[in-house]
Symmetry: C2
DNA sequence: ATGCAGATTGATACAAGATAACATTCAGCA
DNA sequence: TGCTGAATGTTATCTTGTATCAATCTGCAT
């Protein structure tokens, strides 16, 4: 467990995003192989579209992007790919936006905690285990057994506060 | 600040729900009056429908309920009432369910933290200021200015674990 | 090689959730 | 009484997500 709770997001403008994507792709390959599942071309394409930036993407926007390279894709095409990627822990859904974003640390099971900049749209993914522990403790106090967490914080990133 | 972080939810089966509702209604009247806004019959009806249980209600279910007493209500009718009630802090939206629930403590501004039982559907609303502080601290560490929180925890309530 | 079973994708239709735009009615007040 | 802005009615449309069944592909046993 790292002391740095930030998993991805709000990187400097000059960061090597190609490297981000390459890493994410190889991690995805690895995760799928380990799970005995197939990282098919379609799933890979959707995954790459999601990683085209550190901003969440909406399902129908993915669909429109897909339409550029595939013949008349239909909604189930993209939703099935998204379901698969979420199952595999490669992608998170942001419930407050109805949008999807690539996970910055697949392999380790987690729900993710997100900081969403309402101005530029960039999302940071955090993992603060103390936060999760605190939630678990609160739940346990009233006999509630946690299975899933949705933690999405909206606001302004540093850049967008000044400009 | 109370030491008890639970605001509502998971009450005993015999709890006096009529009292819950009466309290919620008088609080709502008070809040609206204080804000100089009108708690109209329509808004009141929607509010009462939301308080018919401690479970979240979907907009189109509200619409169906409304249809029993009103003449062919349309979606904007219920969405406008919901918008008003949310603005006034009387109702929360649960993003992970696309559903709405009455706030257990209006008057005091907060976003709410929710425990959602995936079996019985009952929702508890908590307010753990330490949790909010921790989130704020994490955000501040990376220069993020928080304006809104969505915290929704899914799992099993005590009753539903045993039965 | 051939054929089969399960997984994946294609295709059509529809359900569910939410909003835009404009018309009408209502409450409060000059 | 008549005006004004708030509230509600009405119609249409947009966004988001599923159900269902057909076609294709993959890996494997024969
Ligand atoms: Zn990057
Ligand atoms: Zn993640
Ligand atoms: Zn009650
Ligand atoms: Zn509340």
């Amino acid at each position: 467990m790292s002391d740095n709770i930030i998993i991805q997001g709000f990187e400097s403008a000059e960061h090597d995003h190609r490297h981000c994507v390459a890493d994410a792709l190889s991690e995805a390959e690895r995760v799928c192989t380990q799970r005995g599942e197939r990282f098919t071309p379609l799933r890979r394409t959707v995954f790459e579209l999601l990683w085209s930036s550190h901003k969440p993407v909406k399902a129908y926007d993915l669909l429109a992007q897909l339409a550029l390279t595939h013949d008349r894709p239909a909604p189930p095409t993209v939703y099935r790919a998204l379901d698969f990627l979420q199952e595999a822990g490669l992608v998170h859904k942001l419930e407050s936006l109805n949008a999807y974003i690539g996970c910055g640390e697949p392999g380790r099971r987690h729900q993710g905690q997100f900081l969403i900049c309402e101005r530029c749209g960039v999302v940071a993914e955090l993992d603060d285990e103390a936060l999760t522990s605190r939630i678990d403790a609160n739940a346990r106090k009233i006999g509630f057994k946690v299975s899933d967490e949705t933690i999405e914080i909206t606001g302004l990133c540093r850049q967008c506060q000044v400009s």
